[in-house]
Amino acid sequence: MSNKSTLKPVKARITDIRKMTEIENLVTIKFQNPEYAENFNYTPGQFVKLGVMGVGEAPISLCTAQSDNSELEFCIRNAGRVTNAIHSQKVGDVIWVRGPYGNGFPMDEFYGKDLLLVAGGLGIAPIRGVLQYATQNREKYGEIIVLYGIRSYDLMLFKDDVLHYFREGDAEGVKLYLSYEDQEDLVLNGLVSERDDRITNGLVTKLFAIMDEPADNTVAILGGPPIMYKFTVMELEKMGFTPEQVYMTLERRMKCGVGQCGQCIVGTGKSIKYVCKDGPVFTLWDAMNTKGMI
């Protein structure tokens, strides 16, 4: 009874709110009905509609992995009416949830492969779910490389995770690289203890030059703004990634999340797609065949 069938949300309660940046909070929620939680099956890259009655709903990525459904985390940027309303909720308040919706990253198709995760800005949210999933099922995947681009330390999301993988990533087979646009002293910010060659100044694409050469069987998993995709794809193609080896998640306006409201439409005659239902995860091959996708 995952209640996918209508526009009816189910009740959940906020159990924790953590401020991540000036405009982003990590919000933890718990379903009121345990049965619902038990049946809430999803893969990273899928999303839910989170709603506040009287204001509306917003599509928000699941940024956790499947292991334990009793609580779900969402990284939410205060970007407008609904997200602002979510930000003004307190622990204990009700939040209404529908979903999970869309196609996530096909994690089981990636078994045995290396993963190259590339995230920019808020795009880290779904990527973090992939990372959690992969580390929870560590034996199923090869090497994991994470490239994360941010503007400045202040705007960095999931700082704890980033710190963790910087310190202990090697032991877990996760290599994290970081690029930041603004000139800033990350040493002083306490992120790293000394100058680190996993960190560079500039756009996320700069990291391709310093990271280890990925193996042939690597899949690239992208989360970020359209402009990041354009440049990242160019780099990946140079490195020999085929269009089926590159996955990305898209953002569009969505009202229903189930392929009815038509607001997330992309593409041309042959390849009209609804991002919510046919995506939000697409391969580069999809994007190449769908004008206007990236």
Partner: protein, 338 residues
């Protein structure tokens, strides 16, 4: 396919019989250009010999504006409107509109059923009627000029009789319950039907080749034609709102002055409106009217569930205040005209 014959002189009785299945909704002349589906009490109010309504009959399944639920914040509850048990007879629907509803039915009834659509369709009887195309109809091109399914009964005008095709078990039961009104078809009736169909098919004046259209659209992505039409387009959204196959909608919450109760409302929307592609932070995926127009035509010409998103009813052309001709655009896309 079960076939029956209904004499036109039995139409009044037929109408009265239909009234026993629910409120009869049928085309009524509204203006020079259009009819309107509305509830009728007597057969003299309706007009089965019509070309098109402005708003398609889909309005009875997904309403222009409807409350999805009302909520109470303090009680942490919401309440859907009571189930719809009122039944309705939609009388006099053209094949194009039936075909359009068949696509909507897939979207709203099959994979992820919409309570509202489902209940309304379950409680309705659809009676189709044959028509004669006018100079804006092109349903023959879109392959939607003949309805194979999605109705209970379909009346084909064959002179002083109707040949009635039965489209569902419900339709069959209607015939059974009123067998005195129907007769078995005779050879002459079948001939008349064939004749009528021939006449109908030969009266189309416009045509657009649909095969391969999708690739033509793809190839025209950067064609100057979009900008040309965008200059004329008012961005008013009328074309979408009159389209029987458009189903974009918007959802909005409203809270009452008690600051506690309120409702979530769904409303028809249009991809020609400027914030259709707008997301938070002000980024718009289709910021110009050129992009929006191109998107609409692409969506219409695309194949969704193996059906084009257009059923050739001609409404978007007829009701565009700026006189933008949909078929003309497609003809340009195909290179039929310059």
């Amino acid at each position: 396919m079960l076939i029956n014959i209904l004499e036109k002189e039995n139409l009044v009785e037929f109408f009265e019989a239909m009234q026993s299945y629910g409120e009869v909704v049928a085309p009524v002349r509204a203006t020079d250009n259009a009819h309107r589906f509305q509830p009728v009490k007597g057969i003299d109010e309706l007009d089965l010999d019509y070309t098109r309504t402005m708003i398609p009959p889909k309005k009875y399944f997904i309403q222009p504006k409807e409350t999805l639920f009302t909520f109470n914040k303090e009680k942490e509850k919401y309440l859907e409107p009571p189930s719809i048990d009122k039944s309705m007879v939609l009388l006099g629907v053209h094949a194009c509109d039936i075909n359009a509803m068949n696509l909507l039915a897939r979207v709203f009834m099959e994979e992820l059923p919409d309570k509202y659509y489902l209940e309304r369709r379950k409680n309705s009887v659809i009676v189709g009627v044959s028509c004669t195309p006018d100079e804006k109809c092109f349903c023959k091109s879109t392959g939607t000029d003949y309805a194979q399914e999605g109705f209970e009964l379909f009346l084909h005008d064959i002179g002083d009789k109707y040949l009635v095709r039965v489209g569902s078990l419900k339709g069959h039961n209607i015939v059974k319950d009123h067998s005195e009104l129907f007769a078995a078809p005779e050879k002459g009736d079948l001939d008349a039907f064939k004749e009528a169909e021939k006449t109908r098919l030969s009266s189309f004046t416009i045509e657009i080749e649909m095969s391969g259209l999708q690739d033509h659209l793809d190839m025209s992505y950067d064609d100057p034609l979009w900008a040309e039409y965008a200059e004329k387009c008012l961005g008013c959204g009328s074309c979408n709102l009159v389209c029987p196959r458009c189903r974009c909608y918007d959802v909005q919450d409203y809270i009452n002055l008690d600051m506690n109760t309120g409702e979530r409302v769904r409303m028809w929307y249009s991809c020609m409106l400027k914030d259709h592609g707008l997301v938070a932070g002000g980024h718009n995926f289709r910021p110009t009217s050129m992009e929006r127009l191109r998107n609409r035509i692409n969506c219409k010409g695309s194949l969704r569930e193996e059906m084009p998103n257009c059923v050739g009813c001609g409404r978007c052309t007829v009701f565009c205040p700026a006189d933008i001709d949909f078929v003309e655009i497609l003809q340009k896309v195909r290179g039929d005209i310059k």
